[in-house]
């Protein structure tokens, strides 16, 4: 099995589960947090003994809302990672809600070893924040970025959502400009996506909410891309931009089809086996079930699948093309490459392919071409 250098840790708790969210998150389970952190620590200890891992180059604590943990709890978890062995200059990201970012927490996270903070700003506009059911205000979010930077984070990322009903192009640009003015190193701008199992999904189905059309969504997307580029950000993945040198190394590794170990409720792992097949495993999703299973057995495996080398190559290409600088992952698909190039979705350069502007808009069509 290929040696693992990336670790994903999931914290499934939120104060409130927003209506568009379909991540593995549960509201107000605060009494569970402490036993959960113990279980997660235990799972890490057991899991790293089963697979070839380390030194660990990237750690990503995602959620949910990992900033709901106390800073000692974050420290407790990262101690388990340190026991595995951290590479010098390892990237250690924590996802944070603006409301949880204070000079005290910032200090505590830095002490615990976190060196990259990803702040869930989503929007600055009051109507949009209300629509999205975010509990913070625009000034809270700007304040959070400032506090993080002032407190010593040299690598701060902000998450934004566009294509929110009721938010026009100008308002979206205002939000984006205000966040960029804070000098973040990294920015993720996601199109608000309607997932069928969510409350938003239901509202759209019943006609209560009307989503913007594809043209409007793309106008906001490309509008953002142009502003970010003008501000010196590199558009390195479909929804991600960074200052030079600040691309998220953890996610880059996954898009480059590097293996990772995931721990925590509902976390996914990806292993590359010696015969070039890929194994994906995932944990039980519910925090109660997760804690019980880990206490009893030391793991919380819920399911797994193994992709044959051929399917794994297709999957690698499907993911790889999302990297806008280009990828060599489509190497084994000359016929599909040729078709996509002639359809104007890909360009080929120096043995690599990359999406054209049209290719970005139809990235799923490109990805699907490499599958089975």
């Amino acid at each position: 099995m290929e040696r693992i250098h990336s670790l994903y840790l999931h914290v499934p708790f939120c104060t409130w589960v927003c209506k568009y969210c379909d991540f593995n998150a549960y509201a107000v389970l605060e009494g569970l947090i402490s036993p959960y952190v113990d279980a997660l620590s235990h799972e890490i200890d057991r899991a790293v003994a089963q697979v070839p891992i380390g030194p660990v180059d990237t750690v990503f604590i995602g959620g949910g809302t990992p900033s709901l943990l106390t800073t000692p709890q974050v420290g407790q978890i990262l101690d388990r990672v340190r026991a595995v062995g951290l590479a010098p200059g390892a990237e250690i990201t924590l996802e944070a809600n603006p409301s949880n970012v204070t000079s005290e927490t910032v200090d505590g996270w830095l002490q615990a070893g976190v060196n990259r903070l990803s702040i869930g700003v989503q929007s600055l506009q009051p109507d949009a924040l209300r629509f999205l059911e975010r509990l913070h205000s625009g000034p809270d979010a700007i304040g959070a970025i400032r506090t993080a930077r002032a407190g010593g984070f040299a690598n701060v990322s902000a998450d934004l959502l566009f294509g929110v009903p009721g938010v026009d192009l100008a308002t979206w640009h205002e939000t984006l400009d205000a966040v960029l003015a804070e000098g973040v190193q990294h920015l993720s701008a996601y199109e608000l996506t309607v997932e069928s199992g969510t409350r938003l999904g239901q509202e759209v189905r019943t006609g209560l909410v009307r989503m913007p059309g594809a043209d409007d969504q793309l106008e906001q997307y490309w509008g953002a891309a142009a502003r970010l580029e003008a501000a010196g950000y590199d558009h390195y993945e479909i929804s991600n931009w960074s200052r030079p040198g600040f691309a998220c190394r953890h996610n880059l590794a996954a898009w480059n089809y590097q293996p990772y170990l995931g721990c925590g409720a509902g976390a996914h792992s990806m292993f590359r086996l010696d015969d070039s097949s890929t194994e994906r495993r995932w944990n039980l999703k519910g925090p109660h079930a997760y804690i019980r299973k880990v206490s009893a057995t030391g793991h919380a495996l819920d399911g797994s699948e193994t992709l044959s080398p051929a399917r794994a190559r297709g999957e690698a290409a499907m993911i790889g093309v999302r990297l806008l600088a280009g990828t060599g992952s489509a190497h084994d698909f000359p016929v599909q490459r040729q078709e996509l190039v002639s359809a104007g979705l890909l360009v080929e350069e120096a043995g690599q392919v990359r999406l054209t502007r049209r290719g970005v808009e139809l990235a799923n069509q490109v990805g699907a071409a490499f599958l089975g």
């Binding site: 793309l218 799923n364 599958l371």
Partner: protein, 600 residues
């Protein structure tokens, strides 16, 4: 086992589709102990999975029951279950020819419908004793009394002969059996005469070859005899004769009046044609039984594998299916758009659907069927006449003297409220009004002469929807008639798609072209590029629509668990795409090829 001739009966159950024919047959089997209740699968006689699922009978079935009547005698009752759909009316007619009586089932809530009448006329043509049964009397919306009155007034069967029944609840079963033994006459044939046995069905058994379903009308049939099929002239040696109880049970002989089967190492159902007469080669009968008709297909369509590599499999599958379906014909066809496939002939639309479904299901194929068409007769200027069963093969207009199309006599039975709608629809469909009769029970029987092509183009669905489901239809072919027809072509992304061509009435061609283009626009999914759709008559574009290019298909987030989810989603979409046929670089779904059927 042997029953004296005077205690033998042969009957059929006839009904409009869905009136409960098969359920009633099941009750008779149960009541006579032919099938133990614990072995009773709902609808024993429908043997194909497809028949059970769709609740219809496609193949005729036969079974022998023994019934101890109130008079103390044990009767042998041979029951032949017939297909209820108009596509198979010839099969019904042959099954009836093999009987002496018929149980006519009429639904207590639906009353007499078009096929009820058609079936009754057939039964009367064969001099059958009819036992009228009003079924489903347990349903609250039923009106058995009214239906009984209808039976007397419309069909002319005395009201007091009508039996009330509920096949579901087993009400009336005994009364029906008593009526069968007392009202239906015993067979009159002479078992010592030269053999004449009527073939009313045949099916292919992978181990035994063709199993021929027969009724012996005269003479005696035994294993070891050399028999001859009087229409095809082919001879075979009989391996086995037997009866259905309901599974096949060999017997020593079948004598005059008995219903059963014969197995004679026949390899193809074509050599055992429904309606043919089986005789003794050594002592042949002077003349065959009357009524034999060579079954000819009424509608034609192309069947193409969506994956071109399945061509050989499709060919093998058709060969196998044909062993069991004498009405199915096919020949290789090449389409510029769809590649290699087969032009197939069917008895009707249901038959076509069933064949396609069986090919896909039983042989694991993914097929694309083109819109069905009728067979035109084209008279050329050089005096030649050619049949055309594929619109794309219509000769150049300059060579054509005249085109004739098949005509049918259509009988519609409908409550009087909807008469206006029915006439409007039939007029739109080039129908020539022939007759209208008001019957009791607020029923009107309307007859039209109209082109078969109009019937297969969604006429039945329209009839149903414009009568809130009340109208019923029966039709029969009555000949050919000259018409003013033209070919309508369709171009997708600038290239003609031969499989979308259709032959239409000249006066409606422009409008049809516009509708077809509009419809195709909704059916062809967005592609990576814009796709123009054009309709043309004789090279002149009469309509144009455009399928806009796909605007956006991109997933915003792709992390951790999203990857598996996204891959599965894309794989599923891709699987769905396999049902699309790639024509040039445009992917066209099956429904688009059927679009021409419903342009109203």
């Amino acid at each position: 086992m042997s029953t004296p001739t005077h205690l033998t009966r042969a009957i059929s159950v006839i009904a409009h589709v869905d009136h409960g024919k098969t359920t009633l047959s099941d009750r008779l089997l149960e009541y006579t102990g032919t099938v133990a209740p614990r072995d009773m699968v709902e609808q024993v006689l429908d043997q194909l999975d497809l028949e059970r699922e769709r609740g219809i009978t496609i193949k005729a079935q036969a079974v022998r029951m023994l019934y101890k009547a109130d008079d103390g005698n044990t009767y042998q009752i041979n029951l032949i279950d017939t297909p209820g759909h108009v596509d198979f009316s010839y099969e019904v007619s042959r099954a009836l020819a093999a009987c002496d009586g018929a149980i006519l089932v009429v639904d207590a809530s639906q009353g007499i419908e078009a096929q009820t009448l058609a079936n009754v006329h057939q039964a009367l043509d064969h001099n059958l004793t009819i036992i009228p049964v009003v079924n489903k009397i347990d349903l609250p919306q039923g009106n058995p009394e009214l239906v009984r009155e209808e039976i007397e007034k419309v069909i002319g069967l005395p009201a007091e002969t009508v039996i009330f029944a509920s096949a579901r609840q087993g009400i009336g079963t005994k009364e029906i059996l008593e009526a069968v033994v007392h009202r239906v006459p015993p067979p009159t044939g002479d078992s010592a005469a030269p053999l004449r046995a009527l073939i009313f069905d045949a099916k292919f058994d992978a181990y035994r070859g063709v199993v021929t379903y027969i009724r012996v009308l005269e003479g005696t049939l035994r294993p070891g005899m050399r028999i001859q099929m009087m229409q095809t002239g082919k001879s075979f040696e009989v391996d086995e004769v037997g009866i259905f109880r309901p599974e096949r049970t060999p017997v020593d002989d079948l004598t005059a009046g008995e219903v059963g089967y014969l197995i004679a190492n026949i390899r193809n159902v074509r050599d055992s044609r429904v309606g043919d007469t089986v005789t003794d080669e050594a002592r042949p009968a002077a003349a065959p039984l009357p009524g034999y008709r060579h079954v000819t297909p009424m509608v034609f369509a192309g069947l193409f594998p969506t994956d071109t590599e399945q061509y050989q499999q499709l060919k093998d599958a058709l060969e196998k299916l044909q062993l069991n379906d004498a009405a199915l014909i096919y020949e290789p066809e090449t389409s510029a758009a769809l590649g290699f496939g087969f032009r197939c002939g069917f008895l009707g639309l249901l038959h076509m659907e069933i064949v396609q479904e069986r090919l896909e299901r039983e042989f694991n194929l993914t097929l694309l069927g083109t819109a069905p068409t009728v067979e035109y007769r084209v008279k050329l200027r050089n005096g030649e006449e050619v049949p055309v069963d594929n619109p794309d093969h219509l000769p150049d207009p300059g060579e054509i003297e005249a085109i004739s199309e098949p005509m049918v006599l259509a009988t519609i039975v409908v409550p009087s409220t909807y008469v206006g709608n029915m006439m409007e629809l039939s007029q739109e469909r080039r129908g020539q009004f022939l007759n209208m009769e008001y019957e009791p029970g607020d029923r009107v029987v309307i007859t039209y002469r109209m082109p078969l092509a109009e019937i297969i183009h969604d006429y039945y669905d329209q009839l149903k929807s414009r009568s809130k489901g009340y109208a019923s239809l029966n039709y029969e072919l009555v000949g050919f008639e000259e018409a003013n027809l033209v070919k309508l072509d369709v171009l997708v992304a600038g290239s003609p798609v031969d499989a979308l061509s259709m032959i239409v009435d000249r006066s409606k061609a422009q409008q049809q072209g516009r509708r077809l283009a509009e419809k195709l626009k909704t059916l062809i999914p967005r592609q990576l590029f814009e796709v123009p759709i054009q309709a043309a008559i004789g090279g002149k574009i009469v309509a144009r629509e455009t399928v806009p290019a796909m605007r956006k298909d991109v997933t915003a987030k792709c992390y951790g668990g999203d990857v598996t989810r996204k891959r599965k989603l894309l794989e599923k979409q891709k699987e769905g795409k396999k049902r699309l046929k790639r024509v040039g670089n445009v992917e066209i779904p099956q429904e688009a090829f059927m679009a021409v059927l419903s342009l109203d």
